[in-house]
Symmetry: C2
Subunit: 247 residues, 2 copies
């Protein structure tokens, strides 16, 4: 029996799993499925993997076979250009899917790296397609998830194309806050899992600029920063900064 290239390279342990009793089912793929349908999804998603902080879940260029649902933890995806430039294209948290970019060419087009010890559910894509031919709700929900990814990317393009540094960071913090809230965590207090450099890469800024913007927000009483620990003190204030287009 041969391990997949991914598992071989990274030696990622494997665990049994079940959507039907996963507390993320309202955020993740099973959303909207009946008991019976979810049981069928369970048959398909029966492998869970641990990915330790710093490990790659997959790398650009590897053959695409599965998408992954994050069960716990935190990831970044990034793209590397031939000339050495790279950029973080997203940060993903529990309940979100990883690997959708690989469908188009049957190869992953970016790297996915765990920013903290994480667990993912392994979803063989051809079996997901098969099941979504049989379960309309699943099919439609999957299409919505892919579409949401496109809309999200448009938002990032907007941010990169039209916003200044502080606006970008405010947008970033508000987005994180909102996603933590949706997962039942505090909306006003959390730990960043990524470095200033990774934030900068995602926002199209240098790490010094990110750091300065954090300091400025703190001076203005909008947030309290201590290393990676963030407390958001003034959400309306951040929102105002985000849309303070009148230079």
């Amino acid at each position: 029996m041969s391990l997949s290239p991914v598992a071989k390279e990274m030696s990622i342990p494997v665990i049994k799993t079940a959507c039907s009793n996963c507390n993320l089912r309202e955020l993740c793929l099973p959303f909207g499925l009946s008991e019976e349908e979810m049981a069928r999804l369970d048959e398909l998603i029966n492998v869970r993997k641990r990915v330790k902080r710093g490990e790659h879940l997959y790398r650009a260029g590897q053959p695409f076979e599965s998408i992954f649902a994050i069960r716990s933890g935190f990831f970044k995806t990034d793209v590397l250009l031939e000339d050495g430039r790279d950029q973080v294209t997203g940060f993903q948290m529990a309940g979100e899917l990883l690997g959708l970019d690989g469908i188009s060419t049957e190869q992953h087009s970016c790297n996915a790296v765990a920013l903290e010890d994480s667990e993912v559910c392994h979803i063989p894509f051809s079996r997901l397609e098969q099941l979504s031919r049989e379960i309309q709700t699943l099919q439609h929900h999957f299409h919505k998830v892919m579409s949401r990814e496109i809309v999200r990317d448009h938002g990032v393009m907007m941010l990169l194309g039209t916003m200044r540094a502080e606006e970008r960071l405010a947008a970033f913090l508000l987005n994180l806050s909102q996603r933590f809230t949706a997962r039942g965590f505090s909306h006003s207090e959390f730990n960043l899992r990524m470095t200033r450099e990774e934030i900068g890469s995602y926002l199209g800024l240098k790490l010094e600029t990110v750091s300065r913007a954090f300091s400025r927000f703190q001076e203005e009483g909008l947030i309290a920063v201590q290393q990676k620990h963030i407390r958001i003190l003034d959400i309306p204030g951040l929102k105002q900064i985000m849309s303070h287009h009148n230079h």
Copy 2:
């Protein structure tokens, strides 16, 4: 019988169509389908609309019911933020799909505007889902198209996040050239359908910067510009500019 809101507002004429004899079928949704499968797709895609230059195919906020395949012509999509900022999120040409962003919320999330007189095929989305539950090839191809859109967006994020003005414009021209080539047009000579301002919006630059970059490319003998008419003289040169990261 009542017209759809779109048709009512824009009064877009309606024509019969067929994928099976469309010369774009190798680029568009029918890719990879058998004769018989294509015939079934034809049943679904039986309405073609003309959209005149400057008209909206759809607007952000309108209910989403269909996606559109461009049969001929040229479109831009753009997003408008509450604070007045807007950005072009893409330019689409024949054989490409419009409207995928609307699946996620059942509402279009951007505006689609024709940049020249165009024709689109109207594809009712729920019927497409139905058919793709029956035809595996279609289903898989549709997923690939959505995924390709995500990958494309990552490319734009890369461009906006890490490239300087001339690199962005070089990348833009090379991309256009390559897409024209794939459609059987000259790869070295074409007319831009969009203004400098629209290019700038897409690339996260001001129109003056775009104009200056065009002039510079011309001085350097990389291209010949005359208004909207572009002749690409030195593709390797443009590629080199694009990846000239060593500031």
